[in-house]
């Protein structure tokens, strides 16, 4: 089991320590530990069913049963009800483009600021999201359910950004999207990261994940196998054999 290097971890943004999680039956995550620094672009990779989504859900308080500790800027997330977690500054873009289909694009985005209450700056954030995804501005009055897959993913990410988050959690944002759209999405993720938001990305496209992220954790069967700088992992034989098919 790895322990975070105290030198690189003065006051982490997010610290997961000895986390186990289950949906009611067997443990799906076992003794997972992970640290993320303020401003980092971190990725979690691993085969299907490794437990990546479960880890993200545990952070957002969406797992029915967890053991261990998850702290975000000093707040214990395991003791925080899930509906209070967004207001701490954690935006979770779940796997599978969960938009509100019968709401317009704009209503979907406004809903993303729900946890901010009546914050006067919501209008500014909306303008910022429209700058990020001009396509959404064009389609602002269209029902989200009628958009293409790529556009729905933009809505889902834009809705996350409407929280004005400290941490943006992205679960498989390029699943099922055309390669061109995938590239465009990743460019936006970089832009978001550049603007000071920490990004935690789960991506099944491992080469893309390692290109985008600064550092990555590798998961398998509910446990963290190893962790490293993304560029090094891209050349790591274990990764190349298992995930890149080289």
């Amino acid at each position: 089991m790895m322990t975070p290097d105290p030198q690189t971890a003065p006051a982490p943004l997010l610290a997961v320590e000895g986390l186990s999680a289950s949906y009611g039956g067997a443990w799906v995550l076992r003794d997972v530990s992970l640290v993320m620094q303020e401003g980092e672009f971190l990725s979690v990779i691993g085969a299907n069913t490794a437990g990546k989504s479960t880890l993200l859900k545990a952070i957002s308080g969406l797992m029915p049963k967890v053991e261990g500790r998850i702290t975000f800027r000093g707040t214990d997330l395991t003791a925080t009800p899930s509906h209070r977690i967004p207001s701490l500054g954690i935006a979770h873009v779940p796997e599978g483009r969960h938009v509100f289909p019968d709401m317009t694009v704009e209503e979907n985005l406004i809903a993303g600021a729900f946890a901010r209450g009546t914050d006067a700056a919501i209008g500014d954030t909306l303008a910022h999201v429209f700058d990020l995804f001009p396509r959404l501005k064009e389609r602002r009055r269209q029902l989200a359910g009628t958009l293409s897959g790529g556009e729905q993913q933009m809505v889902a990410v834009g809705r996350g950004m409407m929280l004005d988050p400290k941490l943006l959690i992205l679960d498989e944002p390029s699943l099922g999207l055309a390669p061109m759209v995938v590239e465009e999405m990743h460019d936006r993720f970089h832009e978001i990261h550049e603007s000071g938001v920490s990004v935690l990305l789960v991506e099944q496209n491992v080469s893309l994940a390692l290109e985008s992220a600064e550092r990555a954790y590798v998961m398998s069967s509910g446990e963290i196998e190893f962790e490293g700088v993304a560029k090094d992992l891209a050349n790591d034989d274990r990764i190349r054999k298992a995930y890149l098919g080289i």
Binding site: H83, V93, H98, F100, P101, D102, A115
Partner: protein, 334 residues
């Protein structure tokens, strides 16, 4: 939107018309009774609409609340001569307690599982009411004690005319409650939950609490309607007020048939179903009582096949076709 402005005007006109109808009818007659029952079921459908339409929880156990209301006020009236207004409020409290209890195992259930769990809970209450004869009178039923000089305070009248206006007032109040919830903050949260529960959770909606509030409001209203029913009917038994077909399914059916989640849905649904049921019963006689259940099923399937958004949407569609307006039904129709 002109349609948004038109709606309150239409509703106001509707209330005026409904208030004037009895003037032309025999206050002790059969038609008055049908009208009363129609208003009552429009209210019941609207109460169900809060849970089934706004929170998207298809409950098939609302008879539990209805029966709790009917029995609570009637038993308290019998034992302590307590005014049904007060008994009704106690019934509301008991119904909310039951809704809270029921939410413990069911709040996380979805779709069919929720429907089946509520169905089972409603049946359990019916069985209890049948066997707890000391208090409820059991399968023999219970009569509301007759007070020769009736009064509003004791909710007893010499004709059904005051009952009619009570039902009408209840319907107006319940429609206002429905509209207030639908267009308010809770309605916004429920809409998010209905459209995508997971997305609602990640934006910070307390999905459990929102559904629970909707369930409690709906339960309380349904219980009070049970009291109004008891004071109108004077006699009932467990199989009537706790019945699956007589109450639970009928409430759901009225809302779904009319247009689930819409203000006008239960109004249209009740105006359609109740008179039709009465006609079927008088035409085929009580020997074919099961036939009306069969007719329900057939009509429901037909409407859902024609338009799953219910009769109101179907009407809008037809109107659009006749007025030559393009596009399908408008989601903004209330």
């Amino acid at each position: 939107m002109t349609r948004q402005r038109l709606l309150p005007v239409l509703l106001f006109a509707g209330v005026i018309i409904l208030a004037l109808i009895p003037l032309g009818l025999d206050p002790r007659g059969y038609e008055m009774r049908i009208l009363c029952i129609t208003l009552l079921f429009a209210s019941l459908g609207q109460a169900w609409n809060i849970v089934g339409g706004l929170a998207n929880q298809i409950s098939l156990g609302h008879a539990a609340y209805f029966g709790i209301g009917a029995y609570t006020s009637t038993i308290l009236l019998k034992l302590f001569s307590l005014s049904p207004w007060l008994g009704g409020v106690i019934g509301m409290i008991l119904a909310v307690a039951f809704a809270l209890l029921l939410s413990l195992p069911t709040a996380r259930l979805k779709g069919h599982y929720y429907a089946l769990a509520t169905l089972a809970a409603g049946e359990a209450i019916r069985v209890i009411a049948n066997s707890w004869a000391d208090v409820t009178g059991g399968p023999v039923g219970i009569s509301v004690p007759y007070l020769p000089d009736g009064s509003l305070w004791m909710m007893q009248f010499s004709t059904v005319l005051p009952n009619y206006y009570l039902f009408l007032a209840a319907l107006v109040v319940i429609c206002l409650v429905f509209w207030k919830i639908k267009s308010g903050a809770l309605g916004y949260r429920l809409r998010a939950i209905k459209e995508n529960e997971q997305a609602a959770e990640v934006i910070g909606v307390d999905t459990y609490r929102s559904k629970l509030i909707a369930a409690c409001v709906s339960a309380a209203i349904t219980a009070f309607l049970g009291t109004l029913y008891a004071q109108f009917q004077f006699f009932f038994d467990p199989d009537t007020v706790f019945g699956v077909a007589t109450i639970s399914v009928k409430m759901a059916l009225i809302a779904i048939l009319g247009g689930v989640g819409r203000l006008s849905g239960p109004l249209v649904g009740a105006a359609f179903i109740i008179p039709m049921e009465e006609m079927a019963n008088s035409y085929f006689g009580s020997s074919a009582a099961g036939l009306s259940q069969f007719a329900y099923g057939a009509i429901l399937v037909l409407v859902i096949l024609l338009n799953p958004h219910g009769l109101t949407a179907l009407f809008a569609q037809l109107r659009d076709r006749f007025t030559g307006k393009g596009g399908s039904h408008d989601r903004s129709v209330a």
